[in-house]
Symmetry: C2
């Protein structure tokens, strides 16, 4: 699997873990050390691994999340850092997200930053068809 495919695969794993409310997968996906940051819509910035994982735990323990659908709109690789920009559809809401990954020595991409914010409109129709996550 090339770097770009592996990066998209890691991005898909993030949304799969989110859709499945799978804390074990989510914890394995985020980088084990180093600075981590997460900007959930409307939340204050989270800047530690403990706070980031705690936020997903809190979300997963909340009401059953609606199905989440994602469209990978853009991938960029800069040395050991990969940036994925994508749309998220959660219920009837559309969001746009920045997901930043760092490649470890074993070639695995680990998440180091996530931001999602509201989009006013759904993605353009000429984008790839959305991949249903659940």
């Amino acid at each position: 699997m090339n770097h770009r495919a592996a990066l998209l695969f890691a991005n898909d794993r993030f949304y799969r873990a989110f859709a499945d409310a799978d804390m074990e997968a989510m914890a394995a996906l985020w980088a084990p050390d180093g600075p981590l940051t997460c900007l959930h819509p409307g939340w204050a910035p989270l800047t530690t691994r403990e706070d980031v994982l705690g936020s997903f735990s809190a979300i997963f323990e909340g009401p059953a999340p609606p199905a989440i659908t994602t469209i990978a709109a853009d991938v960029a690789i800069h040395g050991p850092v990969g940036i994925v920009i994508c749309y998220e559809q959660i219920g009837t809401d559309y969001l746009v997200a920045t997901n930043i990954f760092r490649q470890e020595g074993d070639g695995q991409w680990h998440l180091i930053h996530h931001q999602a914010g509201p989009a006013n409109e759904p993605p353009p129709q000429n984008e790839d068809a959305p991949d249903a996550i659940n």
Copy 2:
């Protein structure tokens, strides 16, 4: 100037260019080549240098922007990539932003990605005092 200070300086230059509606400074700040992405609140993702700079040009040609204030909340450096998370205050609105920079061979940090989204609350009072930009 160390890498971290130079990165924060580049982030300040971004907001200075924004506050001054200075297209020349904005064009010089964004990386001259390679993939660039920009997620303005409520806009579709912009994925080319032409579209990114065009968006700032359109914003600068709009109504006079209110004063912008920023608080740098977090800096992380991963090889050639620097990530700055900060609050933005524009008028009475608070936003949180992800700004990603790439370090060039001459040590200069250039912007490769920007996302801003609404924050529900102002930054915590125990953060650094905001730096007025204009």
